[in-house]
Symmetry: C2
Subunit: 134 residues, 2 copies
């Protein structure tokens, strides 16, 4: 699989897992993995999993807009840069105001993964996530 | 200098150079450097410099909102993730419409650098840039 296809496949797999079975994300990280989430630095698969599972929203859907990929210079590793939107249920007061249970808000996000090969697959060594407030 | 301070200093230097003396950016890249600019892949310091100098706007100002940094696993190298805004002169028809020469537009941007040490300084090995359209 070429790097562009591989990185797109990885990103789709990651966010499908995030949106439908978030605890399973732990399998994509290792002990040395790092996540910076909105400026907060977290290290190690267990701590990263705790952070992702403890986020204040349970229902969410990621919409991927762009995926860019480059070899990082570390043997067969890849930097994957993603932009998109995170769709969340509207705030409670918004729901009450509108009386529409379907109301969702979309927040632009950008993020990157540094994927490093191990045991015939890839794990996430670096992960940085930011919401793009206007 | 700690990695967070170093990466912020680098980003400020890079965008100050971009906004005031764009041809000098060539000194921050090397032959193996890669730039992906809005999905277009460019390789090598000279080609990257040609691309950056050939962008359709001459006047611009970058406003940095966030800078995140992690060690990439490659000896003393750093991944630097940036969000911010690119301020450009308004479109000509907008200027005519408003008759305000000061009119500027701001576009949210996100980007990353992978900085690799060489000869006592850092050069940009990976560079990915995206405009974040709403």
């Amino acid at each position: 699989m070429d790097p562009d296809t591989l990185s797109k496949t990885f990103v789709e797999h990651y966010y499908n897992t995030f949106d439908t079975n978030r605890p399973a994300l732990i399998g994509l990280y290792q002990e040395g993995s790092m996540l910076t989430f909105e400026g907060e630095k977290i290290k190690g698969a267990q701590a990263i999993s705790n952070k992702l599972n403890g986020l204040g929203f349970q229902q969410c859907k990621h919409h991927i807009s762009t995926v860019d990929c480059q070899p990082s210079g570390l043997l067969d590793s890849m930097i994957v840069f993603v932009s998109g939107n995170l769709q969340l249920p509207g705030e409670e007061h918004m729901l009450k105001f509108s009386q529409m249970n379907e109301l969702m808000i979309r927040i632009p996000v950008s993020l990157m993964f540094h994927l490093v090969p191990a045991n015939g697959t890839y794990f996430v060594f670096n992960d940085i996530f930011r919401l793009n407030y206007a």
